[in-house]
Structure formats: structure tokens, C-alpha cells
């Protein structure tokens, strides 16, 4: 239980941090796409009999680089790139699972998140990579903001826009892979987007939206994990439903 809280704390910190940049770029669906790709990583990990987190990170990072490369070629609309990778990732994982003749028990926890099966070594990995992600966003903050706001002007100013874009998508891939243990692969996209969109309803600046979305995500993950634990519910489902409820309340109040 306590491990899940430690892992949840790190995820709730970095998911909205990355999510803010994805939402303003109209790229929210990248998280969902990568989470479906992540399932293949889980399948590979389970087949190899290792912890699925490292294999998932490798698979999602490779996929994210491919997505960014296709996007930068400008030959296919970026949402179509996502729409190809999403079923592609799912298809690969289904085929792998079928080849391995199924491994039912564990998979459910990766799909929807589980608070009881997080291992200590996975918590350390989540903590370590989470801190690296946090540091990267802090260091690249303005460059990420500029590249999201106006890519062309950023290029003229000499900002390494391609490097910044690749960094963002790799950080997204890492975050998706880490988050899957807590909220599950199918629900991580929600954690990267819903607290951010909620914060943007009331934020008076971009930095405020960053802070507010982190506070919201932290509260929602903690409360959601408690609810999941005491009512024996899937953690991911509880967290996402709770964050949607918070969004409805904030958006409703904002309209008055």
C-alpha cells in the first residue's frame, strides 16, 4: 500500500508537468497512443519474465521517436500518426500475448493499475526516472514553452526546437511507462490531461496552470488510491473518475 503511494506521488507530480505542454500543443492524445504501445512493452517483459517497466520504457521511447520523426516529416497529419500507432501498439501486444498463450492474472493490473503489486525495485526506478524527468522539465521549461507557443519564432531565436520536441516526447514516453504501474496503461492519458485541463479553467498564467495541475493530480491520486484501497476498486478507475468529477465541479463553477 505504502509503495503505491510513493509511486503515485511521483507520477502525480510528473504526469501533469508534461501534460501542460501536450495540451497546449493539441497533442493530448500522444499519451493515450503511447500507453497502448506500452502494452506491447508489458507483454515483452512478461514473456521474458523480467519486470515490465524497463521493457516498456524501451518500447515506448522507440515508438515516441518514430512518431516525432513522422510528425516532423509533415507528410502525414500528426493526429493520423497517433491514430496509426494506437491500434498498432494494441495489435502488437495482443499478438505477443496470444503467442505466449496468455498470462491473465498479471495483465489486468497493468491495464487498470494496481496498488498491491508494485514492487520495491520498481518504486526506486519510478523515483529515479521521475526525478530526472522533473529536472529536465525545470531546465527546459522556457524552451518547452516557447516551442509549444510558436515553433517558428523559437527557431529564429536559435532555440534547438527539434531537440526540445524530441525531449518532450521521450519524457512523455518515460512518464507513460512509469505511470502504468499506478493508474494502468489505459488510464495514464487521463492523468496527463484531465488535471491540466481542469487547472486551465481557472489559471491566470502558464506557470500557475503548471502548479495547480500538479496540486490537483497529487490530491486526486492520493484520494483515489485511498478510495480504491478501502472499497477494493481498480486504482486507475477510481483516480480518473475522481479527476473527472473535480473537472466538472471546477468547469461548472467557472461558468457562473
Amino acid at each position: 500500500m505504502w509503495r503505491a503511494f510513493e509511486a503515485g506521488l511521483v507520477i502525480a507530480l510528473i504526469a501533469p508537468l508534461i501534460g501542460n505542454f501536450l495540451v497546449v500543443r493539441r497533442y493530448s492524445l500522444i499519451a493515450d497512443t503511447l500507453s497502448h504501445v506500452a502494452l506491447s512493452g508489458v507483454a515483452i517483459g512478461l514473456i521474458l519474465g523480467t519486470s515490465p517497466v524497463p521493457t516498456t520504457i524501451v518500447v515506448t521511447v522507440i515508438a515516441s521517436l518514430l512518431i516525432e520523426w513522422l510528425r516532423s516529416q509533415n507528410r502525414i497529419p500528426s493526429e493520423a500518426v497517433l491514430a496509426m500507432f494506437l491500434p498498432g501498439g494494441l495489435a502488437l501486444s495482443i499478438v505477443l500475448i496470444s503467442l505466449a498463450h496468455g498470462f491473465n492474472a498479471n495483465l489486468f493490473s497493468y491495464l487498470f493499475g494496481s496498488i498491491t503489486t508494485v514492487r520495491q525495485d520498481e518504486v526506486y526506478l519510478i523515483l529515479g526516472l521521475g526525478l530526472i524527468t522533473l529536472a529536465a522539465v525545470v531546465l527546459l521549461y522556457k524552451k518547452l514553452l516557447y516551442s509549444s507557443f510558436d515553433e517558428e519564432s523559437a527557431r529564429v531565436s536559435g532555440i534547438p526546437v527539434s531537440f526540445v520536441n524530441v525531449s518532450l516526447i521521450v519524457l512523455t514516453a518515460i512518464t507513460v511507462s512509469l505511470a502504468m504501474r499506478v493508474v494502468g496503461v489505459l488510464l495514464i492519458g487521463a492523468l496527463m490531461v484531465i488535471p491540466v485541463v481542469t487547472a486551465m479553467q481557472v489559471a491566470k498564467s502558464f506557470i500557475q496552470s503548471m502548479y495547480l495541475s500538479i496540486v490537483l493530480a497529487l490530491s486526486e491520486v492520493f484520494l483515489g488510491l485511498f478510495i480504491a484501497y478501502y472499497f477494493n476498486l481498480p486504482a486507475g478507475g477510481a483516480i480518473v473518475l475522481l479527476s473527472l468529477l473535480v473537472f466538472s465541479v471546477v468547469a461548472g463553477l467557472g461558468r457562473k
Partner: protein, 249 residues
């Protein structure tokens, strides 16, 4: 003594095999206020992007501040206000201050944390365009004219010597437009800022700029507005149906 800031020599560009610009030769001196005009699809924006290094010419050379563009690295000397800069603002929660602070970034900085020097530059830039009192407002809440001022301030924050603007008054009402050109003239005169302005609005441009370049794939005419725009030149460029409406300013 004049000081050449931008020089294009025999520049040709193409897109997908189609030539866009042909044999462009252009020199822009320090303190010039150049208006680039031409019909739709004449290559105005392409010319601007070529000067900015966003597009590479297929042949010919582009120099900025006396350096070939491939060796040029002082990009903080160059400010850029892109076309429809404010079109991506719906639901982008960014303040006026945050926007202008982006203008302080450049390739020579690794750390982007705001220093007191940055804060002074951002304040000065906002003061120069008259937007300092709005510094805490969200950009998306401002009018089109106010947003354009903020984008100018963002470009000014790096203390540029050269400012390029692409159709900056599209979607801005005529009263704000007049104020906007007043501001550009002031920047040109008081801060000795070199300005390159792309516009389809020949009439306004003719009254505001010191030099005009008419392009239609190549430079059709280049010189002082009164020399360029006289006689039947405009008819040749835009066709017989063009009507010039000249307002008193």
C-alpha cells in the same frame, strides 16, 4: 556611412520543384524601413523566411550583418513577428509577461531562469509598446491590436537591431492599425531599428515606409515609395482593375 544588415545575392528558392523566388538581389541598410509588397503568392513570406534562415535558397547567398547566414549566430539581433502570431491562443493560458519573456531566450543561453537583467528588458519592451499596465493579463483576453503590441515587445526584448514583421495588421481594426504604424515609425526613428514589413496593404505601406520593394517572384521594383508607385507601374503589377484609394494621413 551606411551599414548593410541584410544582403541577398542572386537568391533563388523553390518549393516542390516549383520556383518561388528568382534572382533576388536586395540590400537593406541600418535604419531602413522597408515595405515588401506584392500580390498573393508572389513570394513575400518566402522572402522573409529566407532572410530568417527558416528556408534555404536553392542558389545564391544570404548575409546577415556581414556574415553568411550559415555562419550567423547572433540571432538575438534579429526580431521576428510571424503572420497571425496570435492564432494559437485560444485556451493557451499565457500572460503578457510570460510571452515577452520568451523573447529573452537565445541559443547562447543554457539556463532560462529570469535574471534581474531579463526583468528590466521585459519591462522596457512592454513600456515601449505601451502594454506594461497589462503585463499580468492573459494574452488570449486582449484585442488583436494589443496582442500585436505584445508580439512586438517579445521581439524587442532581445534588443534586436533588425525587426521583421509578416502581415502584422491582419485582423486588427483600422484605428489600432494607425497606432501600430505610429509605434513602428517611433521604433525606427528613436531606436534606429531596421524594419522589414511584409504587407498586402499597399496604400498603408506606401505612407509609412522609407523604401519599398515590389515582388512578384522577382523584385519588380525597389526604391522610394513615390518613385516606385508612380505611373502605370501598379497596373502592370496587379492588373488593370486595381484601384488605388489614397487617404490623407
Amino acid at each position: 556611412m551606411s551599414q548593410i544588415q541584410v544582403e541577398l545575392q542572386n537568391v533563388n528558392t523553390a518549393y516542390g520543384g516549383e520556383p518561388i523566388l528568382e534572382n533576388i538581389n536586395l540590400k537593406i541598410d541600418k535604419g531602413d524601413f522597408l515595405g515588401i509588397i506584392g500580390p498573393n503568392g508572389s513570394g513575400k513570406t518566402t522572402l522573409l523566411k529566407t532572410i530568417l534562415g527558416l528556408l534555404s535558397p536553392t542558389s545564391g547567398t544570404v548575409s546577415l550583418f556581414g556574415k553568411n547566414i550559415s555562419d550567423f549566430s547572433d540571432w538575438q539581433k534579429v526580431g521576428y513577428v510571424p503572420q497571425k502570431a496570435g492564432s494559437n491562443l485560444v485556451r493557451f493560458p499565457i500572460t503578457v509577461w510570460e510571452t515577452v519573456s520568451l523573447g529573452r531566450l537565445n541559443s547562447k543561453r543554457w539556463l532560462d531562469f529570469e535574471t534581474p537583467k531579463d526583468e528590466r528588458a521585459i519591462s522596457d519592451a512592454l513600456e515601449a509598446v505601451g502594454m506594461f499596465p497589462h503585463k499580468k493579463r492573459l494574452l488570449g483576453e486582449l484585442s488583436g491590436g494589443q496582442q500585436q503590441r505584445v508580439f512586438i515587445a517579445k521581439a524587442l526584448a532581445s534588443h534586436p537591431e533588425l525587426l521583421l514583421l509578416d502581415e502584422p495588421t491582419v485582423g486588427v481594426d483600422s484605428e489600432s492599425q494607425a497606432k501600430f504604424y505610429e509605434l513602428l515609425k517611433k521604433l525606427n526613428r528613436d531606436m534606429e531599428l531596421t524594419l522589414i514589413l511584409v504587407s498586402h496593404d499597399i496604400d498603408v505601406v506606401a505612407h509609412e515606409v522609407t523604401t519599398i520593394a515590389c515582388i512578384n517572384r522577382t523584385i519588380v521594383s525597389h526604391g522610394k515609395p513615390k518613385d516606385v508607385l508612380k505611373g502605370d507601374f501598379m497596373k502592370k503589377m496587379y492588373g488593370e482593375n486595381l484601384r488605388m484609394v489614397v487617404h490623407g494621413h
